[in-house]
């Protein structure tokens, strides 16, 4: 700080005069006897605080006003670093390319506007300050890199050379200003290095001696590659950090995965959202919300250290909007899943979207190991009846019966769960196919019987079995009834003794599911009499197996094993009446249905590769489609006529400039396009843009082959006496107002 006339500044000490008068110049009080003193005391008590404050303000105002008079006359000034590059307004002729970062990270809020608004404001100021004979062009980082996809006419009128986010060198200032005004921030990732290369290419045809590239950006490091944009001897880079060095504390959902959660049933999903804290402060109790089909279904709070990331896991059971009994044309239902954080300065990445296609029905393949001509004697008679009672689709389980011999002709991938009921040990090829299928996520249910040879099974499917099979144990006699030919059990048999009520498979038998008759569901399970069962050998893979049902003898009846992404359930008895009467007990139906749902392979269709903003997306078309419509997340409708639809298998949709869910409708000529929820798709922002970490100035100088003196901020003298004079007038006004107030 300095003064033009420093002598005047010494008179600022006169500010002490009103203070001295206040302290020592008080007039002597006149003494007076007064009867209504009580009211005076009350009045004084009520007004003293305000009056004292007013007196202090008055004293300060007077002291400052007296001090400001000589200070204004002394004409003080300060020096400050100018954020504008050297050369602006210098009047020298130059060829310049103004590179404006319009990538997503420039959408961060700063004051009333965004960083992009600030960049454009400074660029407009630069255009105003260019020398008279200078020529300039404009390059937008994200727009010029990707080009325009059409359907966005606001990006610039055709014919001005700016429809692709970059222009040619021009001396027309009005045109440059118009081009700047037309720029809009994008949701795309930006390649600053690529934009600088394009700027250098434009300057290759420059006619002026001095060539400069002005970069207005947040200088986020992710926009720069390791390669320099031009070789030594290229243009001079003048970089302007529009954040002015202020940090941006950004939090972002950088990944979203939706996977099946079979433990919750066929419609259970597990949603994993990866959230990163790019700020310098720890994040505590950050709200995160899971939305399904626009409805908030779960919430949570996050704690993330600075620079760290965390995975928030939600579990949710998707609801099937289709009424029970209604046939589903596609056999699948679709859901929009979104995870969102509480908003921050960069709101684009606070949400992430996914589309989920949920299979409506579990497809079960029943391998009948003991087929009979009399249906009730068939091994899978009770099982099939339990899985699809009355052949209705209420259970949402679709059954297909086959034999072990025909198993090789079935595509296991078409099924979610396979029941091997009293089947002989499969040959090596089938065993390998089964193992591979389970490894990928298939669910296998094995029940035993007279056809099961333990040793053969152990050797064929040893890895797949939760525990190796041992010998059979008979605890009571069974006999064929003379009346109906059904097997009858003589004796008490063995009963289910204990089971893990918390296991999702056994959820229907938990006490909370008790009926109104006092006969609990657990009792229904215990009523089954098991007359004969296979003992199981110990297994070294204790961690991969769990005994779900124990018999009174302590022997396991139902064991679960894990194999890769799939699960295997082993029932140590039969699913018909040969070895037990479980099949005719009320508990059998819920147990088998729950087993099918629990084992059902990933109920979600394999998700498509995630689409990012700006990337084209192929929309599958059906035969006969002549029209298609795409509704963007903002609600804008994009029409595609027969020329782009007829005879094609897919429609290349490129207008993916917004994050969110794009909905698709298609149909034949003349008809109204019908919604196709199964081909709707989600588009997300590029997570790399969420990291606001800046490139080091030295690294930037190295990349641009900067010479000493380039892009050095200059010092600027700022006169203060104008502001002080205004402050003096304001103080005098305040003093006048305070002095005239009595209280």
């Amino acid at each position: 700080m300095g003064f033009v006339a420093p002598l005047f500044a010494f008179f600022a000490v006169l500010a002490a005069v009103p203070i001295a008068i206040h302290l020592w110049g008080r007039p002597r009080a006149e003494r007076r006897r007064f009867a209504a003193l009580a009211f005076l005391l009350t009045s004084e008590r009520k007004t003293s605080r305000h009056r004292r404050l007013r007196q202090i303000l008055l004293l300060v105002a007077r002291a400052m006003a007296i001090a400001l008079v000589p200070l204004v006359l002394a004409r003080p000034w300060v020096e400050a670093a100018s954020v504008e590059p050297t050369g602006i307004g210098s009047g020298r002729a130059e060829s310049a390319v103004i590179v404006i970062d319009d990538s997503r990270s420039m959408g961060a809020q700063r004051g009333a506007g965004t960083l992009f608004d600030e960049a454009r404001r400074r660029a407009q100021k630069l255009v105003d300050g260019l020398g008279r004979d200078s020529e300039a062009a404009i390059v937008a980082v994200a727009t010029s890199e990707n080009g325009f996809s059409g359907g966005t006419p606001e990006r610039g009128p055709a014919g001005d050379g700016f429809s692709k986010g970059s222009s040619e060198l021009s001396v027309d200032r009005a045109r440059l200003r118009r081009q700047l005004a037309e720029l809009r921030p994008t949701h795309r990732a930006g390649d600053v290095t690529g934009a600088l290369r394009r700027a250098a290419a434009i300057l290759a045809a420059a006619t002026r001696g001095e060539r400069r590239v002005y970069l207005f950006s947040d200088m986020a490091a992710h926009g720069f590659s390791s390669e320099p944009p031009w070789p030594p001897g290229g243009p001079t880079l003048m970089a302007v950090d529009v954040t002015d060095g202020e940090p941006i504390d950004n939090r972002a959902v950088i990944d979203l995965r939706v996977e099946s959660a079979p433990e919750l049933g066929p419609h259970g999903v597990r949603v994993d959202a990866t959230v990163a804290n790019f700020g310098h402060e720890p994040v505590k109790d950050l709200p995160i919300t899971l939305r399904v089909d626009g409805r908030s279904v779960a919430k949570g709070l996050l704690e993330i250290p600075p620079g760290g990331r965390t995975v928030k896991r939600f579990f949710h059971t998707l609801e099937d909007a289709r009424p029970a009994g209604t046939p589903a044309p596609s056999g699948e239902s679709t859901h929009d899943v979104a995870v969102e954080l509480a908003g921050d300065a960069l709101p684009d990445d606070d949400r992430r979207f996914a589309r989920v296609e949920m299979r409506r029905e579990v497809k079960a393949l029943l391998v009948d190991g003991d087929p009979r001509t009399i249906r009730r004697d068939d091994e899978v008679f009770y099982l099939e009846t339990a899985l699809r009672p009355g052949d209705r689709d209420d259970s949402r389980i679709e059954t297909t019966v086959t034999t072990l011999d025909d198993l090789g002709r079935r595509r296991l991938d078409d099924f979610d769960v396979v029941f091997l009921a009293n089947a002989k040990a499969p040959d090596a090829a089938r065993a390998a196919a089964l193992a591979a299928w389970v490894d990928k996520g298939g669910g296998l249910f094995i029940s035993v019987g007279d056809n099961v040879d333990p040793e053969a099974w152990n050797s064929a499917l040893g890895d797949l079995l939760p525990q190796p099979l041992a010998t059979a144990r008979t605890v009571c006699a069974t006999s064929k009834s003379r009346a109906d030919g059904e097997t009858e059990i003589g004796g008490a048999g063995d009963h289910v003794a204990r089971f893990d009520r918390r296991h999702p498979l056994l959820a229907p038998f938990s006490p909370s599911a008790a009926g109104a008759h006092g006969h609990g569901p657990a009792d229904a399970l215990r009523e089954a009499r098991v007359c004969r069962y296979l003992l199981l050998k110990p297994t070294p893979r204790e961690a991969d197996r769990e005994v779900l049902l124990h018999l009174e003898s302590g022997a396991p009846l139902l064991v679960e094993g894990r194999h890769g992404a799939g699960r295997v359930l082993l029932l140590a008895s039969t699913v018909d009446r040969d070895w037990s009467d479980l099949a005719i007990q009320p508990a059998f139906l819920p147990l088998m249905q729950q087993a099918a749902r629990y084992l059902a392979r990933a109920a979600l269709r394999e998700p498509d590769a995630p689409s990012l903003v700006g990337q084209p997306h192929d929309i599958p078309l059906a035969e006969g489609d002549q029209r298609a419509e795409v509704t963007t997340p903002a609600g804008a409708l994009r029409h595609f006529d027969a020329e782009r639809v007829v005879g094609r298998k897919a429609l290349a949709f490129t207008d993916t400039d917004e994050p969110g869910v794009y909905k698709v409708a298609a149909g034949g000529a003349g008809g109204v396009p019908r919604p196709r929820p199964q081909v709707a798709f989600a588009v997300n922002v590029d997570g790399s843009e969420s990291d606001p970490a800046r490139i080091e100035p030295a690294r930037l100088a190295e990349l641009s082959h900067a010479r000493p003196g380039d892009a050095q901020p200059r010092r600027r003298r700022i006169e203060l006496w104008h502001a002080m004079g205004a402050a003096l007038l304001g103080l005098l006004l305040i003093e006048g107002l305070l002095a005239t107030r009595r209280v």
């Binding site: 006897r33 007064f34 009867a35 005076l40 005391l41 009045s43």
Partner: protein, 304 residues
């Protein structure tokens, strides 16, 4: 007129100046509440019966005295009518004067106590002039003077002498004073309290409402100095209390607005509380001529 002249000549007092006597010459003090008394006067009695002045007729009902049936009216209307009469009684007035130290404040020509004694003298003169009885109770922290109500003209001199001897000193014990008045005023009476109420506040009004509840006709003359109503002082002032040793250094200009709000709230509170208890309230500003204050009091009572 002779009687009035006799009273005025018999009491040559500086309290009752000639202008005040002249302005009140035709005024009639009429108490609102009818009191008992044996002497005939100008005041109405609630007891209809034997009296000198016919009041009205009423339809005969069983229990009425046969001798009061107006046979002329019976002849006219063929109905029995009974004559009703009004009784004229004598009024007893107790003039209660606060002579505590706060009443000694003098902002203008007279202190509040001097002004109160002028008013009390004037009222005594009027009561005696219309053959009513006037008594005096002077109090501060205790009883200072007591003259029982008398109706003879010479009693005015006693009252005025007692008033002239009062000095403003001591604190205020209004409760004790009014308890004394309640004790001595066994019959229905007119009780006029002259006080600034500065030390007693609303408590005094509640005590007056107690007297009213005992069927006395109660009037409060709230005597305040003009300075107390306007706080006209300027410049830093060290205020000292009159009944205690409290002090306050303040700029009157700075606290004036709040003070006026406080004193105004106090006066309004007293007036409202009196109205609720059917106690007649008059604010008396000592800067005004006492004859005017007295005249307003009498006019107000005449309207009741």
């Amino acid at each position: 007129m002779d009687e009035k002249r006799t009273v005025g000549k018999a009491i040559p007092s500086p309290i009752l100046d000639a202008a005040a006597v002249a302005s009140l010459a035709d005024a009639r003090l009429r108490a609102r509440v009818v009191v008992e008394g044996a002497l005939a006067g100008l005041h109405r009695s609630p007891h209809h019966g034997a009296s000198v002045e016919f009041a009205e007729h009423k339809v005969y009902s069983p229990g009425d005295e046969i001798r009061r049936i107006d046979w002329k009216a019976y002849g006219k209307f063929d109905k029995y009518y009974v004559k009703r009469y009004e009784e004229e009684t004598e009024l007893r007035g107790y003039l209660v004067v606060d002579c505590s130290a706060s009443m000694g404040y003098r902002g203008g020509a007279a202190s509040k106590l001097e002004y109160a004694t002028w008013l009390a003298g004037g009222l005594a003169w009027l009561l005696l002039r219309q053959q009513d009885q006037a008594g005096l109770v002077a109090f501060a922290d205790g009883l200072r003077a007591y003259l029982p109500p008398r109706g003879r003209p010479s009693h005015l001199g006693d009252v005025l002498d007692a008033l002239g001897s009062l000095e403003a000193r001591g604190t205020t014990d209004l409760g004790r004073a009014l308890a004394y008045v309640s004790d001595v005023a066994r019959r229905r009476s007119l009780i006029v309290l002259m006080s600034d109420l500065l030390e007693t506040g609303y408590e005094a009004v509640h005590l007056l409402r107690g007297l009213k509840a005992r069927h006395h006709d109660v009037v409060l003359l709230h005597v305040l100095d003009h300075d107390e109503l306007t706080l006209p002082f300027e410049g830093p002032t060290e205020f000292e209390g009159l009944e205690d040793d409290r002090r306050l250094v303040a700029d009157p200009e700075a606290v004036r607005a709040q003070y006026l709000e406080e004193i105004g709230r106090f006066v309004d509170g007293c007036r409202r509380s009196c109205a609720e208890g059917d106690v007649e309230y008059h604010l008396v500003d000592t800067s005004r001529p006492p004859s005017l204050a007295l005249l307003e009091l009498l006019q107000a009572r005449g309207r009741r």
